[in-house]
Subunit: 334 residues, 2 copies
């Protein structure tokens, strides 16, 4: 009897790392989460990762074969197989290929988390059948993945698709990347919270948020206040969506996508964020693009976006060249 | 003896239309220019175009075969073979395929002038061998063509690559497209002139430009004044280049090109425009992109950029599928 192939999808995050075995239909067969602990050296992380993956593998019943591994990580470089000066991780440079090669011989591919999400949308989500789309993740920051002609855009550097670091306001909010006024300092959960705090500081307007201690206020506080009809909280969402929609009109002028998918924590707010974003997007589109682009929620289950996406990248690679990176990474059965 | 294949490259402009026969090495064998006269119906334009092309064909000595036709035109749509609501032309909609089919049976491809220029750079210019680059034309307006993975990006709408209509300043200068604050209202020959006039209006600062009657002042006046060391004219170039460089940093964040090629009238000013553009570009790049992108002049002879580019588009199509659009456009020898 032929065995079923699985791909190991790994999402390395600032706090947690999630891993799971994903089949060819995009279904996650087993999943677990471990602490990333990037204050310890990369070598100990990859050792723990291997132990977790081995333990998880044993929980899957049936005849399976590991066909490949896909990793999404902050500043993951697709060409070099590295993580380079990642935000939110203490490591400065990790040769992921070399670290992984100590434990695995399966084909390996690496990219950043938002690009991984775009692969997921392309193979298993609402981007299936589309040739041109953009994926935007609205979490602590703003990540993005750009698909053109049915292929993810990696660009010359391997880091293409950093729409979160296009500039909204010269001399504006300081970004973690060192620039000022980056889109992600406004259009993200963090940006929403700062905008709400600025609105609170700028006037004496009554708001439910005035009862929340400053140190305890989060983007969720703003969300809850908006749900209860708080005008100031609503305005914070409007400003956030307007800034996002305007920049997305710039993105459309570049690659003219059929759809822009929004996902990540902030999109749980639904129309509170979608409505002002859609409005600003349409208003700022060059006329020939009007009515050609849809703003949609992601078609991938929320908690699994990154691991399914990382696995999808490997599935796409395996479909294209069944041997994968076979020169460097011979695909062997475990 | 085998005949030599030529492609007819056509550049439809607001005032003039240029046409030429281009060989497979990118060399123009014969070239001529006619008035566009878009106040007359499209049918009479295509009749005149055919007469000009026939007359020009007769001037080429030797055994030649027309392999295809490439057209660059404002708002030329690659997928539909149309010109739609073009700026600078009085026509509102032209079914170019249908018009051309009255006179020619050769394979035909259409795109806008800046995309045509990008095809030229890719096949015959400095973009040869590059997989990812962007071409920016700085003329009366700002056109652009985006190349990703060695292919021109047409996008879902067929109009991708309109970087001139990304927005620099909300509520800023009114653009011909109806939006306000588009990049091309600042970074173009027209934009440079407006900036110089604004600087003249804003102060009493001495300038050579004060001797030029307002109605006679052009972007060339600003250029000449800058060459003579005029501080205000220099500042107009600095402002123009800074605005352009900042937006190009946004473009890099999208597709991470290896190079950005600048061409068109304004680039004759050389370092006056390149230097501030390069500086603003580097300063506004997300750190991982620093040092990965070159700002270069085009590698195609200036006057022939558009016709060589339009022909290059067809050569690329013929190379990929020797039959061209063979279903609709059987390639026949003339």
């Amino acid at each position: 009897m032929a065995h079923t192939e699985l791909v190991l999808g790994i999402d390395i995050g600032g706090t947690n790392t999630t891993l799971g075995y994903i089949d060819r239909t995009g279904r996650c067969r087993a999943e677990t989460t471990m602490l990333t602990l990037s204050d310890q050296p990369p070598a100990s992380f990859f050792k723990r990762l291997h132990e977790e993956a081995e333990a998880l593998w044993k929980t899957i019943l049936g005849d399976f074969h590991l066909a490949g591994i896909g990793i999404g990580a902050p500043n993951g470089n697709y060409y070099r197989g590295t993580i380079e000066t990642p935000p939110n991780l203490s490591w400065t440079f990790v040769d992921v290929r070399a670290e992984m090669a100590r434990y695995w011989q399966a084909p390996l591919a690496i990219t950043n988390d938002a690009n991984a999400a775009a692969f997921g949308e392309l193979l298993f989500g609402s981007g299936k059948g589309m040739r041109d789309f953009i994926v935007i993740t609205l979490g602590t920051g703003l990540g993005s993945g750009v698909v053109v002609n049915g292929e993810l855009v990696h660009g010359h550097s391997g880091f293409a698709g950093e729409i979160g670091h296009t500039i909204v306001q010269h001399g504006g909010r300081l970004c973690g990347c060192g620039l000022r006024g980056c889109l992600e300092t406004y259009a993200s959960a963090t940006g929403l919270l700062i905008t709400a705090k600025e609105l609170l500081a700028a006037s004496e307007e009554p708001s439910l948020l005035r009862a929340v201690p400053n140190s305890e206020m989060t983007s969720k506080s703003v969300y809850r206040a908006a749900l209860e009809g708080d005008a100031l909280a609503h305005r914070a969402f409007d400003i956030t969506g307007t800034i996002l929609g305007r920049k997305l009109a710039d993105s459309v002028a570049h690659t003219s996508p059929e759809a822009i998918f929004l996902f990540g924590g902030l999109t749980s707010a639904g129309e509170l964020i979608f409505e002002p974003t859609r409005k600003a997007l349409e208003e700022n589109l060059y006329p020939v693009f009007r009515g050609t682009v849809k703003l949609l929620p992601s078609g991938i289950p929320m908690g699994q976006t990154a691991i399914i996406g990382a696995a999808a990248m490997m599935w796409k690679q395996l479909d294209r060249s069944p041997a994968g990176f076979s020169a460097a990474w011979p695909s062997t059965s475990r």
